[in-house]
Amino acid sequence: MGLALLAIIWLITLVSTYFFAAKTWWLPHGASASAQWIDGQFALTYALMGIVFLAAQLLLGYVVWKYRDRPGAEKVEYSHGNTKLEIIWTVLTAVLFIGLNLMGGRVWAAERFAPAQANAIPVEVTGMQFAWYFRYPGPDGRYGATSPKLVDPSSGNEAAVGLDTSDPASKDDVVTGTMYLPLNRQVDLTLKAQDVIHSFFVPSFRFKQDAVPGLAIKMHFTPIELGDYEIACAELCGLGHYKMHGMVHVVSQEDFDKWLAAREAEKQ
């Protein structure tokens, strides 16, 4: 029985470790400025926890086999523990866990403590059951007023977020169902939700933030690769949660300007 237990525990451990190490399934390709820092912290945590996992499981399998009850087994060591050992492993674990945490803290601070740069492109994201809308403030750089009474979710354009057209600042606001972003320029994001909580999750950007009704949450990130990226809602929002999907197109600044101008013209 000891041998069977050793075999099963080791087998589970080694098979798991193989798939973890082979990276058969891994984080999606990173396409934002912070991806490499987040992935670096992930890889470090992964390696350290992997070593602890291997060591603990292999040791567990070994000791249950080695110290199995059998004729001629060694005498049990009568011991209530070892204070010195307790102190050593308490300190070691504390250093490992808290050290890891402080390192990760630096990345977090860089991500979330500073406000967006002055030249960042402002985009307002609004989540509702079960779609995302993106608002660009247009040439004046100011978002126009909105009103709950004007919200028409079926419109698919400016009325979806209840844009108040009587406000001069709203004249040049553009609302779309697909997100366009210029390459290598920071995005100054404002996240809102109309009905329940949604979460704006773009795996390739290593970006996730809940959009909460009643709050306007400010965030920023910088896309660094051209391409199309998927948005998946990551907070349970109702029966259509699984299909609350959106797209981000990262294009050159030139193409972005063209696209925005075309949308402005379309609106007139």
């Binding site: 009850d69 209530h80 070892n82 009905d195 996730k208 909460v212 009643g214 699984y242």
Partner: protein, 572 residues
């Protein structure tokens, strides 16, 4: 202490109703809790089976539920989580085994307040009936998940099941909170007041320490959830706005304004995180007890184990914000919550080291309870090590609300806690029913369950890393999820096999209850007080004798002793 004990003694009841239904005997109440949890776990498991099947074969028509729609999936998921967390993981280890064995292990004739004890079980039973009623409500069960985030849970038009079903759901939880508060008071008082002569706090078995600290956690946490639940009921039915700001649902401006969705999350997780320890601490206690007994060796670092339980209990109350790193909470407070969460890993690691230290240079007897205790340690390590990922706010950016999270908490508070319950069942079955369970079937059950649960939950980490959000009923709408389908299919097959294997346990349990070989009073050659009394124990636990304790709880292989174990009541 022995002098106060007789006050709580009561005469053995006569008649079926007083003896088995409205019983004041903590042993009967313990079994009632156990069988309630057993019913609940099979219901919860069946719901998870339907979910797994729906993910892979969305068009399959299933027994009892028929055609599963996306919202049906979310309703199954909500009920699975709620039933498992409250009526299994909170009910079996504490209400079941705690009730049955805490008084015996400390040498008391019963709990401090037997009537309160009966009341807390029957209140739990009412809560269970109410939660099951949600299935039959118009619109069905709620779909807002076991965490019930507002405003989804606070509005009646946010989705199917959010009408009467959601009211029943939160009402059931509120009733459950009341029951748990009564139980917690009883446990705490019993430990503090009813210990036998010589049973100092530092001579208590680690199971008793775990039940005691769990009760303290319950007392502090369930009160908060009860209040939060009442506020939710008010928001839903009386037009208040504790959790709901101005919202527009499907173009309709709702009458609420000014509430805070994050308030619900703070209150819920202030309960929710200690709840994790409410589920797992008793399992840790059982693992310690069983590992020491079957290694024939004193527990390694008893004092360190006690301090670790206390540290986990205290730290458990200051880490709730780690569930909210992506919620819109201040990024500065994430720092504090993150550090405290990493700190809680330290006492958890101490416990693991000490379990390994207990086996080291012992003489391991591979009885089924021991297999489950070893499995517990393995699962505790595996589930625990994904904690330091999720505890770092920066890694929550890719991992929060992905399949990585269910992988983590299922391994540690789900499966590890269940392994604790299995270890306890196989270990104490002889004392509770006077018969032995079948060892061969116990082993088969153990190995299939160990391999099966790893096969289910290890791959979920990879799904989460690849970005698969949790609580998705289908993976057809998001292109990058499609290549993960083979892994999802594998998990479903593993789940079907593992669930099937649980019937081995069920049959073994009931067959052994009536047909198993008769058990002696101390079949495992254990040292604690429950093994000094008759099997099953008499109504007052010790047959009119008041035990006197002379030894610590885990005196195995004492040099110079006649046997390889010294009972706690053996002469000094």
């Amino acid at each position: 202490m022995a002098t106060t004990a007789h006050v709580h003694a009561h005469a053995a009841p006569q008649g079926f109703i007083r003896k088995y239904v409205f019983s004041l005997d903590h042993k009967v109440i313990g079994l009632q809790y156990y069988f309630l949890a057993l019913t609940a776990v099979f219901i919860g498991m069946f719901l998870s089976l339907l979910m797994r099947v729906h993910m892979i074969w969305p068009n399959a028509v299933l027994p009892l539920v028929g055609d599963i729609k996306p919202e049906t999936y979310l309703q199954l998921m909500t009920m699975h989580g709620t039933i498992m967390v409250f009526f299994v993981l909170t009910t079996a280890p504490q209400g079941g085994f705690g009730n049955y064995f805490l008084p015996i292990q400390i040498g008391a004739p019963d709990m401090a307040f037997p009537v309160l004890n009966m009341l807390s079980f029957w209140t739990t039973f009412v809560a269970f009936v109410v939660i099951l009623a949600a299935f039959f409500a118009t619109g069905g069960a709620p779909l807002h998940g076991w965490t019930g985030y507002a405003p989804l849970s606070a509005l009646k038009n946010s989705g199917p099941g959010e009408q009467l079903g959601a009211d029943l759901w939160i009402t059931s939880i509120a009733i459950f909170c009341l029951a748990s508060l009564m139980g917690a008071l009883n446990f705490i008082t019993t430990v503090l007041d009813l210990r036998a002569k010589g049973m100092t706090m530092m001579r208590m078995p680690l199971t008793c320490w775990a039940w005691f600290v769990t009760a303290v956690l319950g007392l502090l946490a369930f009160g908060v959830l009860l209040s939060a639940g009442i506020l939710l009921l008010l928001d839903r039915n009386l037009g208040t706005s504790f959790y709901v700001p101005l919202v527009i649902v499907n173009g309709q401006v709702m009458a609420h304004k000014g509430g805070s969705p994050l308030l619900w999350q703070h209150l819920f997780w202030f309960f929710g995180h200690p709840e994790v320890y409410i589920a797992i601490l008793p399992g840790m206690g059982v693992a310690s007890q069983v590992l020491s007994t079957f290694s024939r060796k004193p527990i390694f670092g008893y004092k360190a184990m006690v301090y670790a339980i206390m540290a986990i209990g205290i730290l458990g109350f200051v880490v709730w914000g780690h569930h909210m790193f992506m919620s819109g909470m201040s990024p500065y407070s994430a720092f504090a919550f993150s550090i405290m969460t990493m700190c809680i890993g330290v006492p958890s690691a101490i416990k693991t080291f000490n379990w390994l230290g207990t086996i080291y240079k012992g003489r391991v007897r591979f009885k089924t309870p021991m297999l489950y205790a070893i499995g517990f340690v393995s699962l505790f390590v595996s589930g625990g090590l994904s904690g330091p990922f999720l505890a770092q706010p920066v890694l929550d950016i890719p991992l929060h609300d992905t399949a990585f999270v269910p992988a983590h908490f299922h391994l540690i508070m789900g499966v590890a806690a269940i392994f604790g319950i299995f270890a306890a069942t196989y270990y104490w079955f002889p004392k509770m029913f006077g018969r032995m369970m079948n060892e061969t079937w116990g082993r088969i059950h153990f190995f299939t369950t160990l391999v099966g649960t790893y096969a289910i939950f290890m791959p979920m980490h990879w799904l989460g890393m690849a970005g698969q959000p949790r609580r998705y009923s289908q993976f057809t709408e998001v292109a990058y999820l499609k290549h993960l389908m083979p892994l999802n299919t594998f998990i479903t097959y593993a789940a079907i096999i593992t669930i099937a294997a649980q019937f081995i346990f069920l049959i073994n349990l009931f067959w052994s209850m009536f047909k198993g070989p008769k058990a002696s009073d101390n079949p495992w050659e254990s040292t604690t007080l429950e093994w000094t009394t008759a099997t099953p124990p008499p109504h007052d636990n010790f047959g009119g004798v008041t035990p006197v304790v002379n030894h610590g709880p885990y005196e195995y292989s004492v040099p110079g002793a006649a046997k390889d174990y010294v009972m706690q009541t053996d002469p000094a």
